[in-house]
Symmetry: C2
Subunit: 214 residues, 2 copies
C-alpha cells in the first residue's frame, strides 16, 4: 500500500470533513448579538477598569457574551515575563491585542482595559480585526486622574519612584479618531456605563433584532 492510498483511506474515514472553522455569523446568531473588541485606552485613574468591569457585569446580566482583559488577569499570567520597558510595553499590548482578537473570533465582546498610550500599538491592535475593533477613549484630565490616584501611583511617580509613568514622565498619545469618547471627568460611573451600554446596544445588535440592554 503506497503512502498515497493510505492517506486516501484515512481521508475517506473523515466523514466529518473539516474544511474551515465555525462561521462567525453562526456564533453571533447563537449568541443573539455580534462580537468584537472594545479597546479602552486612557490614563491611569481615568476609570478604565471600573467601567470595563461594570460594563461586563451589566452585559452578562443581559445575556451578552463579554469578557474583560485587564492588568489583573494579564500581567500576572500571560504577560508575567514582561517588564515595563518600552519593548515590554509594546509586547504587552501586542499579546493582549492577539488575545482580544481570539475572543472576538469566538463571538465574544472582548473589553480590553489598558493605558495603551501609544497610537502605533493601538493601530496594530486595530489592524488585527479592523471590522470588529472599537477604540473607546476613557478621557479624563491628568489633574483629575492624579487627584483620584486610586492606587497611589501618581504620588510615587511624582516622587520619582516610578520611572516612565504615563502622563508624568512618559507620553500619552490621545486617540485621533476613537469610535467613542467617555468623559469621566464630567460624567459619573453610572452615566458612563449607560453610554457604553447604549453603544453596545447600537453597534453589536444583529440586523433586524433588538436586544434589551438596560
Amino acid at each position: 500500500m503506497s503512502t498515497n492510498s493510505a492517506n486516501n483511506n484515512i481521508k475517506s474515514k473523515n466523514i466529518f470533513a473539516v474544511d474551515h472553522r465555525v462561521d462567525l455569523e453562526e456564533r453571533w446568531d447563537g449568541n443573539g448579538h455580534k462580537g468584537g473588541i472594545l479597546w479602552f485606552t486612557g490614563l491611569s485613574g481615568s476609570g478604565k477598569t471600573t467601567l470595563a468591569l461594570e460594563l461586563e457585569r451589566q452585559l452578562i446580566k443581559h445575556r451578552y457574551q463579554a469578557f474583560v482583559l485587564d492588568g489583573d488577569n494579564i500581567r500576572g499570567g500571560l504577560n508575567r515575563d514582561l517588564d515595563f520597558s518600552p519593548e515590554g510595553r509594546s509586547e504587552n499590548i501586542r499579546r493582549i491585542a492577539e488575545v482580544a482578537a481570539l475572543f472576538s473570533d469566538a463571538g465574544q465582546i472582548a473589553i480590553a482595559a489598558f493605558i495603551s498610550p501609544y497610537e502605533e500599538d493601538r493601530q496594530i491592535a486595530r489592524t488585527l480585526r479592523p471590522d470588529l475593533f472599537h477604540e473607546v477613549f476613557i478621557n479624563s484630565d491628568l489633574a483629575v486622574c492624579e487627584q483620584r490616584d486610586p492606587k497611589g501611583l501618581y504620588k510615587k511617580a511624582r516622587a520619582g519612584e516610578i520611572p516612565e509613568f504615563t502622563g508624568i514622565s512618559a507620553p500619552y498619545e490621545e486617540p485621533a479618531n476613537p469610535e467613542l469618547v467617555i468623559d469621566t471627568a464630567e460624567d459619573s460611573v453610572l452615566e458612563s456605563v449607560y453610554r457604553l451600554m447604549d453603544y453596545v446596544g447600537s453597534e453589536f445588535t444583529l440586523q433586524g433584532q433588538v436586544k434589551e440592554v438596560a
Copy 2:
C-alpha cells in the same frame, strides 16, 4: 479639598461598586453548561486538529460556547515570535495554557490542540485551572501517524529536514493519567467525535440539567 476627600467624593459616585468579577457560576448558568479546558495532546498526525474542529462545530451547533486554539490561530498570531527550540516550545505551551485559562474564565469550553509533548508543560497548564482542566490523549501509533502524514512532515523529518521532530528525533511523553483517551488508530473520526461529545455531555453539564448533545 484634600486628596482624601476628593477620593471619597469620586468613590461616592461609584454607585455601581465593583468589588469582584462576574462569578463563573453566573456565566455557566447563562450558557446552560460549565466551561473548562479540553487539552488535546498527541503526535503530529494523530488527529488532534481534525477532532478539535469537528467537536467545536458540533458543540456550537448545540449552543455550547466552545473555541479551538490550535497552531493555525496561535502560531501566526500570539506566538509568532517563538521558534521551535525547547525554550520556544515551552513558552508556546505556557502562553496557550494562559489563554485557554482566560477562555475558561469567560465560561467557554477551550479546546487546545497542540502536540505538547512534555509532561511538565502539560502539568503547568493543568495547574493554572486544576478544577477545569481535562487532559485528552489523542492516541495513535507512531506508525499510523507516519503513514497518514497529512502535512508531509514525517517524510521531511526522516530526511533530516526538520530537526527535533516529535516521535522521530524528539521525545513524546505519553500522559500518565489523562481524563480521556481517544484511540484514533482504532476509531473513526465519527466514533471519536461521538466519544468526545459524550464526555462533554457528562462533564460539562450543570447539575440537575440535561443538555442535548447528539
